[in-house]
Amino acid sequence: MNPTDLVQTAVSGLANGALYAFVGLSFSLVSRSTGLINFAQGDLTMLGGMLTAVMTEATVPLFIAVPLAALICAAISGGFYYFAIRPSTRATMSQLVIITVGLSILIRGAVTSIWGTDPRQVPPFTAGGPIAVGGVSILPQQLWLIGLLAVVAIATTWFFRRTVLGLALRASSGNALGASFVGIDNRVLGLFAFAAAGFLGGLVGAVWSPIAYAQVDIGVGLGIKGFTGAMLGGLHTAYGPLVGGVLLGIFEAFTAGYVSSHYEDALIFALLILALLLRPQGLLGGANSTTQDERPEQILSTSVRATTFGRRDFIGIAIGIAVLGLIGAVLPGVWVSNAIFAGIEAMAVIGLVLLTGFAGQLSLGQAAFMMIGAYASAYLTVRSGWPPILALMVGAALSVVVALALGRIIFRLRGFYLSMASLGLLMIALTFAREWYGITGGPSGFVGIGAFSLFGFDLGSDTAVYYTVATFVVISLLFGMSIARSRIGRALLAIRSSESAARACGVDVVGLKMRIFAFSAATASVGGSLYGHYLSIVNPSPFGLDATIQQLTAVTVGGFLSLWGALAGSLLTVALPQLIGWVSGSVASQFIAGIDYIIFGLLLIGIVMTQSNPALHRFRMRLSHRGTGAAVDAKESVRAP
């Protein structure tokens, strides 16, 4: 334990922590003012760095480029709030999270198209090499970052305590209705908050990029870490994001340097989950401050949901089966393959419809269950020679066990906190898949998995796989429909509206959440098993954050409450990149590939907007004749007299 190394590690951690603190501050600003979490905050930071790099390459002087970059980010963030969020008055929490995910994808697509994926250098504010003090070195730019952080922290504290606007922002997030009574215009505040957070994000991107580099993919991880830091310190407190971010940076450095760099990310996420469970208000948060994300979501459904299987359902199922059967026979090969992947994803999405759409629990960790199923099938068939159907069932059983065990812990959380906890569990699972070399084969995983077979019949051809997947999809659909079209379905909707009210009506809230979570885990697991057999290889890479976002998109496109919509949404997310590629022909390039992401992002944003803005309702894609059960504006929680 060399003392120089110790100090060096701490210094590096501190510098990183300053970065996370900054990002966390932006999250906090938006959250304190609007109650929202902007998933794209990290990408705005990336954009700030990127814009500065591009401008300085075009010989714009740094002292112009940096504020200009920050202003552009402010405009993008504020503009996004104004055009996409503000009009979406009936959006539920999940939908708002998804709409910001759409912005994240959109920004990354635009950057890819315009400037490509190469990393870029940003010039530091002051020239000169690292400053070494007795074997410990720090970069001048890191000092700039820390200094700027101190200035911004003091400024924001002063702002929230001593200015009218700052008080108004806090008031609005504490009680939006009360705020409107004293004349506060909540929507102007929201605009300000988003623009200010965008400015801060862009600014810190420009200040920090010279230390590392600017590149399109670094934003997402940064956002997650900044958010984690803010949560640790206290998202809604003045200094919480600051303290939490710095502590996180130091924790990360010491874990990588002294514990194990292999498990560093798992430990960080474990810390986040512990914080969410044990002290959600953060280190600096007061005991009775509003902690849990309690946005009351009142679903005023104008159509009555059915509680039994009706004749329409039977007809629908019959037609659906017929169509699925027809597709397998009629479609040319590659589109069957698209349909297979879509069907596999649909297995996970069906569970999500019930878990997120009906019960309102936004879980970002479903890919973990797909992974369990895939690895179980891979391991048991390749290493132990089991028949695939048995391996598949074991995988599903294992997923259910894991779901019940972990669910009991994390479903105590609600809203965005639950989402982050589930995401954290997924990341931890990915770490284990990567590192448990003996069991999982490490990052390269398993190869040579045989085709799925049933009672000795090898179902290897694309057509055979398609019909296998379609069968499982239909079975899951039937299970799902029997849940949705029953008292349980109504109970789930009640849970989504208000858990305490549901409990008061005798609904076993915890038990139902567990059962639905287990169901979604089982279907996802089966999907994962089939995936492994079809692809013949299994490794951690398909089961990460990208998979989660793809599933979220599918649920959103499908309409949240529609099981058939799950199929349509899955098909879209799988086939869209292929469709775009086919349409753009052999002009494949980074420019076109970026367009792909841009379209994806716009689709997400646009679809959520049509679902949650009454003025745009006529553009809604009605994938279920039962309607999507739009939520009444939760923020204003208007009550009938």
């Binding site: 190469d118 390269s444 058939w564």
Partner: protein, 387 residues
């Protein structure tokens, strides 16, 4: 309402499928390239594609393949296995390509192989992992300087220079993992001790904690294998920042000018790169057996990209075309017959490509390219072989 959506979707796809089935074009040789144009492998793929442009010209202006002009159809697999499979099927069925090459990463390459085997079409694997082309697969051929060529070059160089206590830092992807495995195996063979194996996530932006730990172990050299170009250069920069004076050795994919920009001048001065001979084309002696193809290629490359010089990634997607060309010399227009093409490839012997000499046999669809790999350094202007 829902059912009409699904019927509509099914109808659209069927129509698309029918319309998209393009007729077999007997007047050109179509190559399908499954490329990771976005995602993790994107930055390197850009260099693959830049080189490919020059390669296409080079092949077409020297008789094409089997006398037919070559055209390349690309599909973005997004560094994603499922999309790689879909791309492959689309290229085979709808673009009706005559041969395939791909994919940037080892795992997607392995993922598309069942499709390739089932369709019976030659695939040139351009992924570094050995498992993508070995053991023998009927339709798959190696077309890249892989890990088993690069790694011995590095480790033997280290041994030669007396560096027997070496630290390894790499990312936690499959690439990093495979590289680490190869490095450790080769090191054991050559008597080099790997004293540390530190990892990081490719999108991490600060690796000083891991490097501080390595600094404490005082190794003689650091092997820095990264799939991401940004973080690779950053590690060099941070080593300088931490006052680490050891040389670092980076993989072929990092042998680009961008690395030097990220690493800074001091970091670059301390770095040794594994490179293909193409990288030091200017210094290549005229009697070097690979001089011919490399200088021709460089000429075409400069025409298309006057501001850049080819790096080790540039020839990656080109040798596949050269091999196909060589096969075509034996069978002429029969290259359009996949079986015939495959058989002809299996008989290509001692072809001077850009990355080394290619020899295939029915029993072995790969050859050792250690001769085509070298260690170079960069002084800000030219890449020169190290000694």
């Amino acid at each position: 309402m829902t059912k009409s959506w699904m019927l509509l979707a099914a109808a659209i796809f069927s129509v698309l499928g029918a319309v998209a089935a393009r007729a077999q074009d007997a007047t050109e040789f179509k190559v399908g390239y499954v490329a990771s144009i976005t995602g993790l492998i994107a930055p390197i793929t850009k260099y693959y594609m830049d080189g490919l442009d020059a390669g296409i010209k080079m092949v077409n202006e020297s008789g094409g393949v089997g006398g037919l002009p070559v055209s390349v159809v690309k599909c973005d697999s997004q560094s994603n296995e499922a999309q790689a499979v879909l791309c492959t099927k689309r290229l085979i069925e709808q673009d009706k390509v005559n041969m395939l090459m791909g994919v940037g990463g080892t795992a997607p390459t392995v993922a598309i192989e069942p499709t390739v085997q089932a369709a019976g079409i030659p695939l040139f694997a351009i992924a570094a992992g050995r498992i993508s082309y070995a053991p023998l697969k009927k339709w798959v051929f190696k077309a890249i300087i892989g890990n088993d060529d690069q790694v011995p070059t590095v480790v033997k160089f280290l041994k030669k220079k007396g560096c027997i206590k070496v630290a390894l830092i790499r990312d936690n992807t499959a690439f990093g993992n495979d590289s680490a495995k190869s490095i450790k195996e080769e090191a054991a063979r050559d008597g080099v001790e790997i004293v540390a194996d530190e990892v990081y996530t490719p999108t991490d932006t600060d690796i000083t904690a891991q490097l501080t730990r390595i600094r404490g172990l005082n190794p003689q050299a650091v092997i820095n294998y990264a799939v991401g170009i940004g973080v690779g250069g950053l590690i060099s920069k941070e080593m300088v920042q931490l006052g680490m004076k050891q040389p670092s050795f980076v993989g072929m994919n990092q042998q680009i000018v961008g690395y030097a920009v990220n690493a800074g001048p001091e970091g670059t001065a301390q770095t040794f790169f594994v490179a293909a001979k193409v990288a030091s084309a200017a210094d290549l002696p005229k009697d070097d057996p690979l001089y011919g193809p490399i200088s021709t290629f460089t000429k075409y490359f400069k025409e298309l990209h006057p501001d850049e010089t080819p790096n080790s990634n540039s020839p990656t997607a080109v040798d596949a075309l050269l091999i196909a060309q060589a096969a075509g010399k034996a069978i002429g227009k029969k290259v359009l017959d996949r079986e015939a093409l495959r058989d002809a490839i299996e008989h290509v012997t001692n072809l001077a490509g850009l990355q080394g000499f290619w020899t295939f046999t029915p029993e072995q669809h790969w050859s050792s390219l250690e001769a085509g790999a070298q260690i170079v350094t960069y002084d800000g202007k030219t890449w020169a072989p190290a000694n």
